[in-house]
Amino acid sequence: MIDIKRFMSGSAFIQPIWVFVVAITIFFSIMSDYFLSVGNLTNILVQTSTIGLIALGMTYVMINGNIDLSVGATLGLAASLSVGLQDYGITVAVLAAIATGVALGALNGLLVWKTGVNAFIVTLGAMIGVRGLIFVYTEEQSFYASNFAFSDFGASTIGPIPVLAIIFLLCTLAMHLVLKKTGHGRNTFAVGGNPEAAMDAGIRIGRNMMINFMIVGFFAALAGVLLATQMGASTPNLGRDYELWTITAVVLGGTKLTGGYGSIMGTLGGVLAIGVLRNGMNMMQVPAFYVLVILGVILIAVLIIDQQINLKSFKGVQA
C-alpha cells in the first residue's frame, strides 16, 4: 500500500508502463528461448534507439506543455545531410546535420515564443515544410554512403554491446539527470505545470521552451544520423510517421499533454514497450501489423487508467 495512486499516476520513480514492459518480457522469454539473450536484448535497444532518442527530447517539450510534430522530417533531413555532405568529410557532414536539427528546433521554439502560435500548428507547418526541404535538397534521390567508416559505425560494438545501444543509454541517463538535477530541468516542469506562477517567479518561459525545442531538434537530428549509419544510406521519405511513434512512446511513459508532468524513466519504459513488443512479436512470427493495434489499445488503456485516478480527487462537475 505504498501509495498506489502515486505509483499508477507515475510520479513515483517507476512508472506503470514498466509493469507492462516486464510482463511482456517475461511472456516473450517463455515463448521464445532466444528472446532473453544478450544479443537480442541489445538488438532491441538498437532497434528502438531511433524513436528512443527523439522521445527523450520530446519528453522535455511535452513537459513544457508543447508538442513537436516536425521531428520525423528533421530526422529525414539530418539523415540526408549526413550522407549527402560526405564529400566534405564525415565529421563536417555529421556536424552540419546536427546543427541543422538544432537550428530547426530553434526556429520552432522562436516561433512558439514570439508569435504565440500554438506549438501544434507551428510544428505541423514545420513538419510539412521540412519534408519539402529534404526533397529540395535531395531532389527526390536516395543517397548512399560511399565512405565505409560511416556505415561501419552503425554496426560497431564495444565488447558485446552495440555502440548505438550505448549512445542511447548514455543519452537517456544524461537527459534524466538534466531533468532531475539542473535548473533548466526543474524550470521545464514549472513552465509546463503552472506557466503563470513560473512567470511570476521570474523564470524566462520563452527561453526555456526554445531551449527544449532545440534539444528535441538535436535528438531528432542525432537519431537521423545514427539511422543513416545503420542503413548506410538515406531516403527522402525517411522518418515519416516517427512523430506519431515518438508521441505514443512518451505518452505511454506517463507524460501528460497538458504539461508539467512526466519523466525520462517513464519515456524509456514507453520506448521499450514498443521495442519489446515489436521484437517479441516478430520473433513469434506475428506480422508487425498487430503491434500497431496493440499499441493503440494500450495507449487508450493508459488514458483510461489515468482518468480514473484523477476522477477520485476531482470535486467539480464533469463537463
Binding site: V117, I121, I128, F135, R240, L257, P287, F289, I294, L303
Partner: protein
C-alpha cells in the same frame, strides 16, 4: 453615477461596428490572400485560370476537402481527429476489396457501416468517456492502420475487371459536365455548412466548442453532440474513400497515410481555430483549395511538386500569426 458610467462603457464598443472595407479585408484575410495567389499564378501561366485546369485542381483537392469538412465539425466542437488518415486507408481498402467479392452495392454499404463504427468508437471514447481527443485519435490512427494491414495481409488491393462495373463513376464520372468528386465535395460542404449555421444542432456544437462547461450548464447533451461530430467525420471519410477507391480502382494499404495532417493544414489555413467554438466549412473549403491551387500553380510554373510543402509551411504560420495579431489588436483597442 456608477450606472451612468456603465452605460457609456457599455456602448463604447459600437465604434467597432463601423467596419469599413479595410476591416472586412483584414477579417477575411485568407480570402484576400487566396485571390492574390490566384491572380499571381494566372499572370505566370495562361493555363492556370482555364476552366479545365480549375476543375482539375478542385477535383484533386476534393478528397482532402471532403475529409476536412468532417474534421472541421469535430474541431468546432472543441476536439481533434487524427484518425482520419488511417480511416481513409481502411475504408478505401475495404470498399475496393469487397467490390469483387460482394458487388459494388454491398461493398459500399459494408464500408459505410464499418467506417461509421470506427467513428462511433472515437465518439464513445471522446464524447462519453471524456478522454483526450488528441491521444485517443492518435491511438486510433495506429490501431486502424494495423487493422488495415491485418485485413489486407500487407497486400495492395484492386478491382479486377474495371470495365465491367459502374463503381468507377464516383471517382471518374461526370454529371452535367462536372466531375462527380466535385459534386460530392460541394454537396457535403453545403449541407454541413447549412447544418452548422442554421440548425439548433450546429448552434450546440459551437456552444460546446466555445465553452463545454457552460454548454452542459445550459442543458445541452454534450456527450451525444461530441459523439455525433465523430460520426460526421467518419461519414465524410467514407465518402472520400468512395471517391478515392473509384478513382484509382484499387488501393495501397497505406493510401491515407499523412492525410490527417494535410487535412489539418487546410483547416488551419482556412482560419478555423484549433481551440474550438469558431470556424466554418467555407473557410475550410478555401483553405483546402489554396493548398490545391498552390500545388497546381507551382507545378505550372515549372517547380517540382514538393516546393508546395515549403510554401505551405510559410503560409500556415503567417496565416495563424496574422490572425492572432489581428485578434490581439482588437482586444487591445477594446480594453484601452
Amino acid at each position: 453615477m456608477a450606472s451612468a458610467e456603465h452605460t457609456k462603457q457599455g456602448f463604447m464598443l459600437s465604434k467597432k461596428h463601423k467596419a469599413g472595407l479595410l476591416n472586412f479585408l483584414s477579417a477575411q484575410g485568407i480570402l484576400v490572400f487566396f485571390l492574390i495567389c490566384m491572380f499571381a499564378f494566372s499572370l505566370t501561366s495562361e493555363q492556370f485560370l482555364s476552366q479545365s485546369n480549375i476543375m482539375t485542381v478542385v477535383r484533386q483537392a476534393s478528397i482532402i476537402g471532403i475529409i476536412a469538412v468532417g474534421v472541421t465539425v469535430v474541431i468546432i466542437g472543441g476536439n481533434l481527429d487524427l484518425s482520419v488518415g488511417s480511416m481513409l486507408s481502411f475504408s478505401t481498402v475495404l470498399v475496393v476489396d469487397l467490390h469483387d467479392k460482394i458487388g459494388p452495392v454491398g461493398a459500399i454499404l459494408v464500408m459505410f457501416a464499418l467506417t461509421l463504427m470506427l467513428g462511433a468508437l472515437n465518439g464513445l471514447l471522446v464524447g462519453f468517456m471524456r478522454l483526450n481527443s488528441l491521444i485517443v485519435t492518435l491511438a486510433m490512427l495506429s490501431a486502424i492502420q494495423g487493422l488495415v494491414l491485418i485485413y489486407s495481409g500487407g497486400q495492395n488491393v484492386d478491382i479486377a475487371n474495371q470495365s465491367d462495373t459502374w463503381f468507377g463513376v464516383f471517382g471518374q464520372g461526370y454529371l452535367l459536365g462536372i466531375a462527380v468528386p466535385i459534386i460530392i465535395f460541394s454537396l457535403l460542404a453545403i449541407i454541413v455548412q447549412v447544418v452548422m449555421s442554421f440548425t439548433g444542432y450546429g448552434r450546440r456544437i459551437f456552444a460546446i466548442g466555445g465553452n463545454p462547461v457552460a454548454a452542459v450548464y445550459s442543458g445541452i447533451r454534450k456527450n451525444w453532440c461530441v459523439f455525433s461530430t465523430y460520426m460526421i467525420s467518419a461519414f465524410c471519410v467514407a465518402c472520400a474513400a468512395l471517391v478515392l477507391g473509384a478513382r484509382v480502382m484499387g488501393s495501397q494499404n497505406n493510401v491515407g497515410q499523412g492525410y490527417e495532417l494535410l487535412v489539418l493544414a487546410g483547416i488551419i489555413l482556412g482560419g478555423t481555430s484549433l481551440l474550438g467554438g469558431a470556424g466554418s466549412i467555407w473557410k475550410t473549403v478555401i483553405g483546402v483549395l489554396i493548398l490545391g491551387f498552390i500545388q497546381n500553380g507551382l507545378l505550372l510554373m515549372g517547380y517540382p511538386y514538393y516546393t508546395q510543402w515549403l510554401v505551405t509551411w510559410v503560409i500556415i504560420i503567417l496565416a495563424v500569426w496574422l490572425d492572432l495579431a489581428n485578434k490581439r489588436k482588437r482586444l487591445l483597442t477594446r480594453h484601452s
